[in-house]
Symmetry: C2
Subunit: 279 residues, 2 copies
């Protein structure tokens, strides 16, 4: 691949994409970031060729929006007319029902092609400093075409292959958001709720893998995650209600010393995990 690419927002995901294109493809990547220190760092390590100029935007084959949801919208509104018609615009955002129709509408107005994307990879710490050319190795790349032509899906699939993703899954904004509420947003809410136990500060020496795993993502960027949570309110509240209901059943079985009910509840969890081939 040797596309001309602009990455807007060189955080963990945008920075990792820029580094991955540099490491694994012949694409020419320029970048945009509100933090001059990040631009310097990205230049220094070669992740971007230069800070994107208006000419780079106009010449771009593919633009990655790697900002927060509302900032993605604002960016595209501001720069859509600077892009050439036919340019493919994608995002990396963890919410789609809210975001995709908005980005799609702006793109359409300007003759651009929008296709939603969500690389299923992350780290407990964000920012360019933590970005990594190999972050996507083996990960799933969710594609949300929203009516984009086949060529755009093919290009994004080629990007996934080139950057070392494990595969792509084509989905709708609604299915995406319902699944992500469960697989990603709920664990983040959970990690935060979990570490607020009065026992947490004293865990050292008393903990092993279970504490580490549940608390791993507690150190969220609250501005970004609050925006993501609220843009996916319906699906996330549904997942939180489901989880609290399931916890309540276990709590009641424990509280009433009901061994048979408790074994039954735990067995259900084990069987689900086993049926998925994960145990």
């Amino acid at each position: 691949m040797n596309q001309k690419i602009v990455v807007a927002g060189l955080g963990l995901i945008g920075g990792s994409l820029a580094k991955a294109f540099r490491k694994y493809s012949d694409c020419r990547v320029t970048g945009i970031d509100s933090d001059p220190g990040v631009i310097d760092a990205a230049l220094q390590c070669g992740a971007i060729r230069r800070q994107a100029t208006p000419e780079d935007l106009n010449a771009a084959d593919l633009v990655f929006l790697c900002l927060y949801p509302q900032a993605d919208i604002d960016f595209l509104k501001e720069h859509a007319s600077a892009l050439r018609p036919g340019c493919i615009v994608t995002d990396v955002c963890g919410v789609k029902s809210f975001l995709s129709p908005r980005l799609s509408e702006i793109a359409e107005k300007h003759g651009l092609i929008y296709i939603g994307g969500h690389p299923m990879a992350g780290k407990e710490k964000g920012g360019f400093a933590n970005s990594d050319a190999d972050l996507f190795s083996g990960a799933s790349y969710l594609l949300v075409p929203c009516g984009a032509p086949r060529g755009a899906v093919d290009l994004m699939t080629a990007v996934a292959v080139e950057l070392g993703f494990g595969g792509t899954v084509v989905t709708t904004p609604e299915e995406h958001d319902r699944e992500i509420a469960f697989t990603s947003q709920l664990p983040h809410a959970l990690a935060c709720a979990y570490v607020k136990s009065p026992r947490c500060p004293g865990h050292a020496g008393f903990s092993a893998g279970s504490y580490r795993d549940v608390s791993r993502v507690a150190s969220v960027n609250e501005s970004m995650w609050a925006e993501l949570f609220l843009d996916n309110r319906e699906a996330l509240t549904e997942e939180l209600d489901t989880l609290m209901g399931n916890l309540r059943e276990i709590r009641d079985a424990v509280g009433s010393n009901d061994a048979e009910a408790l074994r039954c509840l735990l067995r259900e969890g084990r069987l689900i995990k086993e049926r998925l081939g994960e145990a």
Copy 2:
């Protein structure tokens, strides 16, 4: 170390202890298990020298009870008179307030020395087949002396060093159980509650590290964990109530679209994690 050791119960923990003694010490380990197939496997790989005989019990310097809580009690009741006075008896159980006074009482009656122990290591799958000489590498070994003399604590500390543990923490049954309710029992309850979401069966392709981490231990042995949960009812229900309360706050902030409240709740989690030096 060249103690004579009997391991009663060659599951994940007992089997790993036997293998670790074999690999890292000169101790002579014999074993007991209700499953003849497990005894055969343990003999075949050299984890034990032989199935423990009455003579082995009588000669033992150190007996590890590695059964379920009630089975530990039943075993000690049955075999205490076969052990020589002064023999040290320890367990590896995840609950102590219920178990330790009972084991301590039986031991005292027979001139044995009881010291509680809890190796903070595990795997999502149990049984001798999953046991590993290096399971304890770098792990914390919780010691619950319950009045045991200094010599017993010193011996268990030497065991920890010899088998590659990262260190020991001396604690009380009550403190042990309160912390374990948070660091271990709650994550197991959570994993089970989590995978019951209707979204779980469709997670493939939509998930990454967060799903994997929260769901990891969902495949619990329900008989063992139900017993552990119920033997630690008070501390565990307290943790479950705390967690559900914290989840409820997040749920309400999301449900009422209150960005400021949500950011504030998430920030609290991040600050706790950062203060612990874990982020």
